[in-house]
């Protein structure tokens, strides 16, 4: 059994049985995939038809933030939830105290971080017509945040907790606010008013990108900041 620590070397009978079953299952599903070639999605045409009303040119963004914007709204909440969850669990423990950081790394990060922010902003803007958008931008931002965290630069650490919270909530709140605003204007949740779709989506995406970036960075930090907005084991 795996308890002995040799699990990765040899499989016992039970595990073999499991393996067999998994293989059966995979083969069965594979057969089904193979035998059902798939039909032409109804949606594709619809998306193509409605593209022009969506306010953006990229179909993916249109689906994400307009046609199925409600999904995305909830999804942003999922991300926020992850942060709340981690914060409720533990305090941040990164970075490990006392590890030496080479000056090269410091320098590189100092150089890279603003560039990454720029790239992120570009990606968000680009999202309206090409591949890109809030998530991509947010990911880059998050990476920048991680770099800053790794190098113990004061950037993130000195931000007060309240500001962090605001930053985290900014995107979702903006999104929800926009949705509600649309509800009042057009009677539909996220039903962007005609013509206003483009910039509203951009607004939402920008807010979300900031929040997503912050979220990812804070997830990396692995816990809540303590009260004085300074990481627990700040030297």
């Amino acid at each position: 059994m795996s308890r002995t620590g040799k699990s990765h070397k040899r499989l016992d009978g039970f595990q073999r049985l499991l393996l067999l079953l998994v293989i059966c299952m995979v083969m069965l599903l594979g057969y089904i995939i193979w035998s059902t070639p798939g039909s032409k999605p109804v949606l594709t045409d619809a998306v193509a038809q409605m593209q022009e009303y969506s306010g953006v040119e990229s179909p993916v963004t249109a689906v994400l933030l307009n046609f199925r914007g409600y999904d995305t709204l909830l999804e942003v909440m999922v991300l926020l939830l992850a942060v709340i969850g981690t914060w409720s669990l533990t305090e941040a423990f990164f970075p490990v105290q006392g590890s030496e950081i080479s000056p090269v790394q410091m320098g590189a990060v100092r150089l890279l971080a603003p560039v990454m922010c720029l790239v992120a902003a570009y990606l968000v803007w680009q999202g309206s017509h090409l591949a890109g958008g809030a998530f991509q931008g947010g990911a880059i931002l998050g990476a920048a945040g991680v770099l800053v965290l790794v190098t113990e630069l004061p950037g993130l650490r000195t931000i007060p907790v309240l500001s962090l919270r605001i930053g985290l909530v900014l995107g979702p709140l903006l999104f929800t606010g926009t949705a509600l605003f649309c509800l009042f204007i057009t009677g539909d949740l996220l039903g962007y008013p005609k013509g206003a779709g483009g910039w509203m989506i951009l607004l939402v995406e920008t807010g979300c990108a900031v929040s997503i970036g912050l979220t990812l960075a804070l997830l990396f930090a692995g816990g809540r900041p303590d009260k004085e907005s300074i990481w627990k084991n700040n030297p």
Binding site: V26, V63, E75, V78, G222
Partner: protein
Amino acid sequence: MITTLIYSLTGLILFGMGFFTLIIHSHPLRKILAVNVMSTGVFLILVATAYIPLGEGEIDPVPHAMVLTGIVVSVSVTALALILACRIQETSNSSLPGRKQQGEVPEESIR
């Protein structure tokens, strides 16, 4: 056609492997990774479906949006799970001070 099939089957195999790892291995990190592999497999199949019916360059944007959402969800859950695992490790280590350096969660507790 065949491309999508290959993608799909690869995704399926990834799913199966992930699943097998999930149920066989007891280490929390492995489990988290296994789940990630599984989700990757599912995303792969999903992305593959986007190509199916259309010939020239056009893709179905809906699966893409779905995959994007899925990835975000996966990231969130992974993060949460990792931190949970760490926390479990911390608490179990604090109860067993001798094993602090080992970093291994007792298997019994995870099963």
